[in-house]
């Protein structure tokens, strides 16, 4: 593929993501042991393939090194043992996972994280682990800000050099051994601020604020005056906001 055409494809992909709006998506390939990404199930929309995940503004894609999807930039999560074989010339931003020492952009090793993962709870959603979460957010921000480069072929090549596509086995811990936070609580703990605070203040009236917030953003973007009036009217009259949003969204074009 020529560089100008590649650039055009990237521009198109960027525009498409902007058209669709900012959504986090997860991709779980069936043939890969995605125990990390599988923890996102039920929390964020799960894409059927890398293409669909690529339509989100930010996608968490847990693929084997041999199946790297097309993107505008790459953040590669490496194990410490891969560092000596990783070629930064690939252009992707590297984050070292479970690092015992401060090595560039890294996530520190934490026994609590291991316990949460083994119990089937995503570490960002597990209660406690405050220091780990702060570091994770800081590393994620730095990684995303720097991830504007990376060539798909070069990244694939560099990843293949690190090892094969065979997934490693994970040990399981009993379910319920780690307390899980709701998405709203996790967002607050991570310092995530809603882009539209007015709509978030409405969403806080729901049982599931994150769900209602997503619906409210959709209604406010596409619905027009009558849709907003219907939602606000439901809140004023003390009726269920979730039901009102579901009804309005169903009627949207």
């Amino acid at each position: 593929m020529s560089s100008s055409l590649r650039e055009a494809c990237r521009c198109w992909a960027r525009r498409r993501r902007q058209d669709v709006g900012g959504v986090v998506a997860g991709y779980l390939p069936q043939h890969w042991d995605g125990s990390g990404a599988s923890l996102l199930r039920g929390k964020v929309p799960v894409a059927a393939d890398p293409e669909e995940a690529g339509r989100a503004l930010y996608a968490v894609v847990d693929t084997p090194p041999c199946a790297v999807p097309e993107a505008d930039g790459y953040v590669v999560v490496l194990e410490p043992r891969h560092l000596k074989r990783w070629r930064s010339a690939a252009g992707a931003v590297a984050v070292v996972n479970k690092s015992l020492w401060p090595v560039g952009l890294h996530l520190p090793y934490s026994r609590g994280v291991e316990r949460a993962m083994a119990a089937g709870v995503h570490p960002l959603l597990a209660a406690g682990l405050g220091a780990f979460k702060k570091k994770a957010v800081k590393a994620a921000r730095a990684a995303v800000e720097g991830a504007a480069g990376g060539d798909r072929a070069a990244v694939s090549e560099a990843l293949k050099r690190l090892g094969d596509c065979t997934p490693s086995r994970k040990r399981q811990a009993p379910a319920g051994s780690v307390k899980e936070l709701t998405l709203a609580e996790a967002a607050r703990a991570l310092g995530v601020r809603p882009r539209w605070p007015d709509l978030w203040s409405l969403a806080e009236l729901c049982g599931d604020p994150v769900y209602c917030y997503a619906r409210l953003v959709e209604v406010w973007a596409k619905g027009g005056g009558r849709a907003r009036r219907a939602v606000l009217g439901a809140v004023m009259e003390g009726r269920s906001l979730e039901e009102a949003l579901d009804a309005v969204v169903e009627g949207l074009p």
């Binding site: 409405l202 806080e204 009236l205 027009g224 005056g225 009259e237």
Partner: protein, 649 residues
Amino acid sequence: MSPYGRSLLLFLSSLALIAAAASAWPPLGALSAVPVLVWGEDVVLWLYTRARPVEPVRVPYGDGFQAAYDPAHRLYHWLWDAEPVQSVLGVEAAARLHELYSKLSLGPGESMAFVALGDWKLVRFTSRRYDPARVGQIEAALREFYVLARRRPWLSSPKPVAPWPYLAALAFLPMALLASGWALLGAAAWLWAVKRFRSRYREPAIPLSFSHMSKASALPASRDMLETMASAEAAAFADMERWAVAFADRPPEEVYKKFVKTYEGRDTGRRLIRIRELSEFVERMAKYNERPVLLYVYGSRDLHSLSLSRDWLAAADFWILRSGVRALSHDLARFPLLYGGRTLPVGRELVLGLDRFGRPVSIDVDALPSAHAVFIGGTGSGKSWTVATWALRLAELGVDLVVLDPHGDYRELARLVGARVVEVPAELPRGLAGLSRSKELRAVLREFGVEPVERGGEVDVERTLSQIRPFRWVDVDRRHVVYAMDSIAGDEDLLAFYLSLLLVYHYAAHAGRRHERLRTAVIVDEARLLGSGGESYALRKLASLALGGRKWGFAVWLVAQSHDDLPRRVLRSASFVLIYSGNYIYLSDAAADLRLAREDQVYLQSSTTPAEAAASSGQPYAMGVLVVGQRGLKYHVKIPLDARLKPRM
């Protein structure tokens, strides 16, 4: 000073005095509970609203038309959806608003509030008494100025207020340590005050609360100032995301006391200044019969002329109305209380464009008595483009389109909606053959001097029309049809004939079949062609269509270059009229006939054409004055035009 500021000052100064006294005699420290009991709620309210909005708890009360009852302040609130029946802004609205105020005759403990949340307008009546008969009187008075629909009560949010104000009890510790241990009673009273506050208040959602309130104690009394500022202030409010103004009668004893205090003051210099200020006040009362009122002003943005500034106290004060601004009744003209009315939502909404504040202007095609429209403007003003843009939206609402297109301007519309394009005169709809017995057909043929070919007492339509131009029948089997006549665009007589023929055909096709909901829109471009040579049969038929079409489920949209091109009764029956800019001489002449005010003419004279708008901003716009006939609502509109309809631009 506002009541909350006064409470805070009294609270702090009382505590300071008690602390000073308690250092001399410690048991006096127990008195620290007294300011908390007296002013504690105001202070907690003030403190909490430094961070977040609050509103008093409100519960539904009563049967039938329920009120929202605030048990803490013993207030009842009734709510209506309200759309103004006219469209006036600024000091022009003053007399009408004064009339509204007088007819309401608000008594002690009563107030009215006008609320705008985006383009949603509400009216709230608040009273200390639960009196359904009084509510009926208020409603009757309001109906003259607004189209009202009762609403269920506006209840408080379920979200409780946060518990952090309890921590403020720690502020009594220094007093306890330095002055007297008895001051801890104040801390206990504070905890009780916060508990009571938390039971009486809730935290509302931001889209349903106000973040700004007026800090002024009185508005300037000068009439000149009112006339200068009213339009600008009303426009500023109309531009806000949400705003509200409540008003109540100012007790006459208070006005009298102010007058006495001014007149009998000892300081001559100050007395003269006050008399001068009061004279403007008295002059307005005498000359314009204004009454003293209290205004409670809330918004979502700063407005310096009314001292509107950010304070979450607005969310609570909107319900308890303690921080009023002294004013006179014509000062209500500073707010757009009679502007921007819309039809109530009944059925399908047709979005037409944006008003001068960038808010969408729309009509409900099922609410209006008819959906007939007239578009008047010179060449190049964007009439056909506007009609095509709106026709596209009508098609999305499920309305079938019939377009009589003398110049082929609607081909792109046809492509976008999948319409059948009938190339007149080479093609004609097969249904025309069914008019063989129609007297309307004979009248049109007679008018244009076409000799009908008779067959068995009926007109042989095919042979008659073949005399004029050879053609073939086509089946119009789709929802939408465009009759393109650009092949004969140079021959106006021929155009007029075919326009009349097709109009009469569609009239016959639809008339007589009752269908209350709008189903078909018949768009006639260059309607002047129907009237060439005096009032034609087709124009008379058009007038019948316009007057009776609503019950037969269709609307007629006429596009003309001048209002003189159409019979007056067609203009009179139009549900909405869109007037574009034109030659300045034409505008001056048309102003009287079309009831254009001075500011309408100024707006039209400053309009840009779609080509200019596209060149400067990339988005083509048409600009015009839209009059919705139902209530004489008038808007200065900017209509974003669909670029797909003119790909070459």
